[in-house]
């Protein structure tokens, strides 16, 4: 039986004692001198940091690491997140001293190697996108979207088109799409999906106007369904004077199969931490590559990495007079980009194609198993094959016994597997969004389907079993509402509560 580690690990501030040390930093041999910072700007109270010896610090965090589920622990089929294996050679390469210890403002002659890697990576990604220009400056997918919309705005403004203020996006799109649009000052028009889970062309035609700046979509979409009318969609948008943005979050389904530029897209981002295997790091750092057509290239953020053939040298080009400026302090998450570069080198064109095919095979294989489970349904046209992910709806189960997608998630993590993405996309009420990736083999998928089947059976016998899940995890089900009501966000706030005799927290009376 699965049982996750559980240590009664206190906050690090409650460990340690004055005078213990965990590290001796290198000290300068320049003689100490009086510190002449003006009195009003001199720190009076030193910050409270832990005082422990090295072994204690290590033990504390090692124990915490053991209370954490990860891709290297087991299947992690979070839909839309592409939780594939993070190859260890990439980690080793990122720890090269000539990667780690490069200052962003070093003279160009000392950074030729890293510029070459960035230049080539962009070219390789361009090849996959069929969009020739680009940058890896965005630090994450959402910032990639933000940059893409920046480019679209800059393009329209540069063409004297100041009234294009609307971005159209389907109701199945990622939440970042409308959020990035608003950050760019656009208003958002959401259009409904049709019964096939695809963009409703009539609704789209009704939505476009002289106000249309652009259209954002991921293809395959968040239902895992390929938008087969993409050429018509592109035509409607382009005819209206808008531009097409490709949210590359789902690119793992189609690498080497279809190129977004050939579907009519003008600009896109790829998530290097999804499609190109770089680690998710408990939430980040990720990295995004932005790729665009020639007409958007003049507006790219500076600097762009270029190659001077005459001098035989790579360089950072800041001379883009129409550039949108910068979105990152330097050049983006370069050490992440290095990992993606190594990944592409390891797989090559055929390997990347196989990767997509296997991701798609796995998703369809598990979908056909899951849709047989009584209580789950495959919404939207069930005849259509899905791509890298599938979305099951637990509404029937919820209707019958009150057990919804979140309860199913909690039952699954009790069994030592990770839950799918739940309650997204919002157009499927009790969504279970499953993306196994090419990293799972047949047995792993069979086992996952078996666990879901078994857990739903248990829930049918006793719905309370579901409502009280998870079991065997480090802790039982958390009370989100309590966290929001009380907002205890730091050790400092805990210290304050202690002075008011309000810590540790009191448990509410049973309320049933």
């Amino acid at each position: 039986m699965y049982k996750q580690a559980r240590f009664e690990e206190p906050l690090i501030f409650e460990l340690g004692k004055k005078g213990r040390r965990a590290h001796l930093p290198p000290k300068t041999d320049v003689p100490p001198r009086e510190i002449t910072i003006p009195k009003n700007m001199r720190r009076k109270e030193p910050p409270e940091l832990p005082e422990m010896h090295e072994g204690e610090v290590f033990r504390h965090y090692l124990r915490l690491s053991q209370m954490n589920y990860s891709v290297d622990t087991g299947i992690y089929p979070l839909g839309s997140c592409t939780m594939k294996y993070n190859p260890k050679i990439n980690e080793a390469l990122a720890r090269n001293e000539k990667m780690m210890y490069l200052h962003p403002y070093q003279p160009e002659e000392t950074i030729q190697g890293i510029l070459e890697i960035l230049y080539k990576l962009q070219k390789y990604l361009s090849e996959m996108a069929a969009l020739p220009y680009g940058t890896i400056q965005p630090a994450a997918g959402a910032q990639g979207e933000y940059v893409g919309l920046n480019l679209i705005r800059a393009y329209h403004h540069d063409h004297g088109d100041f009234d294009r203020t609307e971005i159209i996006t389907p109701d199945s799109s990622h939440g970042t799409n409308p959020a990035s649009s608003v950050m760019n000052g656009f208003s958002v028009l959401e259009i409904k999906s049709n019964s096939d889970g695809q963009v409703d062309l009539e609704a789209l035609k009704a939505a476009v106007s002289e106000k249309t700046a652009g259209f954002m979509i991921t293809n395959p979409n968040t239902l895992g369904i390929f938008e087969s009318q993409i050429t018509e969609i592109a035509k409607i948008i382009h005819d209206a004077g808008g531009l097409l943005y490709y949210d590359g979050a789902n690119f793992n389904a189609i690498a080497g199969k279809i190129r977004p530029g050939e579907m009519g897209f003008d600009v896109l981002h790829f998530n290097l931490h999804k499609s190109f295997s770089t680690p998710h790091g408990g939430g980040g750092p990720g990295a995004a590559a932005e790729l665009c057509s020639e007409r958007l290239a003049p507006y790219l953020p500076v600097p762009v990495v270029e190659y001077d053939e005459d001098k035989g040298r790579y360089y950072l080009n800041y001379d883009l007079p129409k550039s949108i400026g910068k979105v990152h302090g330097y050049y983006g998450n370069v050490a992440v980009a290095l990992r993606a570069y190594a990944y592409i080198c390891s797989l090559g064109p055929e390997g990347l194609l196989h990767t997509s095919e296997q991701a798609v095979l796995n998703a369809n294989y598990i979908m056909r198993k899951l849709e047989k489970i009584d209580g789950l349904v495959l919404k939207y046209n069930r005849e259509l094959p899905r791509k890298h992910e599938c979305v099951l709806d637990a509404t029937p189960l919820k209707h019958d016994i009150g057990v919804g997608a979140m309860d199913i998630a909690k039952m699954l993590i009790s069994r030592g597997v990770h839950a799918p993405t739940v309650l997204f996309p919002l157009i499927v009420h009790e969504a279970l969004m499953v993306e196994p990736t090419e990293n799972e083999n047949k047995e792993s998928l069979d086992n996952y389907a078996k666990i879901i089947t078994e857990e739903i059976e248990k829930a049918k016998k006793d719905p309370n079993y579901a409502f009280n899940a998870p079991y065997n995890t480090s802790i039982g089900r958390v009370d989100d509402a309590w966290a929001t009501r009380n907002l205890i966000l730091s050790w400092k706030m805990i210290k304050q509560l202690k002075t008011e005799n309000k810590w540790p927290p009191e448990w509410p009376e049973e309320e049933h």
Binding site: H103, G348, E357, V478
Partner: protein, 465 residues
């Protein structure tokens, strides 16, 4: 469509036999049938022009060959700063970063099975609050620059209809560029506050003059981009408070053992980068970790960008735990009404910061700051003895602007001259007439007296040549 015969690869799980069985179960003959809904005319029929190396060994060799064309700050002595710092990553820290339970997880959407990430991020938030003397911090933005952009947007949200944001001209140009970008779409007007050309400090009189009922926030850096400590800002902060203007400060996180914490002199929102305190090595400028912290205010907290880890209860009496909280501000729920579009952040870099600070402790944190302070002041004093001047005559921490006046047409030659001495000379800053370059010099705690003496000797040689 491509019809590849199967090949085995370490990153692909299924064998040929698995695939056959799975296809049989799906009742299809080939994987291509799963792509049958894709119109023929948009399918890519060629072969991607990409490199391929047959083995891990060859990939390693190839990437190492490329990296070997670089020279690192371990090869040369670096006097470069500007927002990122050359630091030492203790072996224990790196070992913790290699725990793949941490680095191969994602955002803790299922908190019950992700307490490791959440607990560590809560400790990161807490340590940031201790260092900045703030109450709440989010668990990271992308970098200092995006923290600035987001902070400006947040001041506009808090102050509702106000649409002007003041910032000092002594803001780092790369951060200023991001600020401009982040505020362009939503039409937040940016107004620059000049600085005193002698002291390099904010022109406080002008700052107060520029404040009006339309001003949402004011931003300054301390020390500012030129390394100058902004020690005369009490009146500015007072005036801002009176007018309901949100005070935002950008700070060097590695300086706060010596310099007063922003939370102790009236700053509402403090930002910066956690890289200098252990988020990671330089990494050619990324990943970094944007710091975003503020005084506690329930309403303001709801306007914060980024993820927050908070305390929660579990069904087991007495067992409190950690969870992502206030998720209803975030894009995956609120969509176009979210406080920010941020989804992936720099969580591992934030966790790395917690490891680093736990290892340093209060003593190590202070010793690093002192080493930098001593190095920079020794260097400045010795340079002055040798007849060089600084541009601004003000108190500083580890950075100052040296008046080298390298003629613009000699800049490359100077760079090369210093590289021959195995020195990265600093960040060149153009004079207003664009005729000369002065150099922004930062001393890390990795530099020793000999490195500083070599630097001085090199400058003397340059001057005499």
């Amino acid at each position: 469509m491509n019809n590849l015969t199967h090949f085995s690869h370490p990153y692909i799980a299924n064998s040929e036999k698995d695939i056959e069985e799975m296809l049989a179960e799906l009742g299809i003959k080939s994987i291509d049938e799963l792509y049958s809904d894709i119109p023929e005319d948009i399918r890519f029929k060629g072969k991607l022009s990409l490199p391929h190396f047959e083995s891990e060994f060859e990939v390693k060799k190839h990437v190492e060959e490329l990296l070997n064309k670089n020279k690192s700050t371990r090869d040369y002595r670096s006097f470069l700063g500007g927002g990122v710092l050359d630091i030492y990553i203790p072996a224990a820290q790196d070992e913790l970063l290699r725990r793949s339970e941490f680095y191969t997880a994602y955002t803790p959407y299922q908190p019950e099975t992700s307490q490791g990430t959440l607990h560590t991020l809560f400790e990161y938030q807490s340590m940031i609050c201790e260092i900045l003397a703030m109450d709440t911090a989010n668990c990271s933005m992308y970098d200092w620059a995006s923290s600035l952009g987001e902070a400006a947007l947040m001041t506009a949200r808090i102050t509702k209809k106000r649409n002007k944001f003041l910032y000092t001209a002594a803001t780092a140009p790369n951060r200023e560029a991001v600020l401009k970008n982040y505020t362009a779409g939503v039409k937040l007007e940016l107004v620059k506050i000049p600085f005193d050309p002698k002291t390099g400090k904010m022109d406080t009189k002008k700052a107060i003059e520029l404040m009006d009922e339309n001003t949402a926030g004011i931003y300054f850096e301390n020390p500012n981009y030129f390394g100058v400590i902004e020690s005369d800002i009490e009146e500015v902060i007072k005036a801002a408070k009176e007018k309901g203007i949100v005070v935002v400060a950008g700070v060097d996180t590695s300086s706060l053992a010596l310099i007063e914490a922003p939370g102790n002199y009236g700053v509402d929102i403090a930002i910066g980068d956690a890289q200098p305190i252990g988020a990671g090595p330089l990494n050619f400028g990324g990943p970094l970790a944007g710091v975003f912290a503020m005084k506690f205010d329930k309403k303001w907290t709801r306007q914060m960008p980024g993820r927050l880890v908070g305390i929660t209860l579990t069904p087991e009496k007495g067992k409190w735990a950690f969870t992502n909280t206030l998720q209803t501000r975030e894009q995956h729920i609120k969509r176009h009404r979210a406080t920010s579009n941020i989804c992936s952040n720099e969580a591992l870099s934030a966790m790395s910061t917690a490891f680093h600070l736990a290892l340093l402790g209060p003593e190590g944190y202070k010793e690093n700051a002192e080493s930098m302070y001593y190095n920079a002041h020794y260097l400045k004093d010795e340079l002055e003895k040798a007849g060089f001047n600084t541009v601004y005559n003000s108190e500083f921490f580890n950075t100052f602007l040296l008046e080298l006046k390298v003629p613009a047409d000699q800049k490359d030659k100077f760079t090369k001259f210093m590289l021959d001495k195995k020195i990265y000379a600093g960040i060149p800053i153009s004079t207003e007439d664009n005729k000369f370059y002065n150099y922004l010099i930062t001393t890390s705690y990795l530099l020793k007296k000999k490195d500083l003496d070599d630097y001085i000797a090199a400058l003397k040689e340059w001057r005499n040549a």
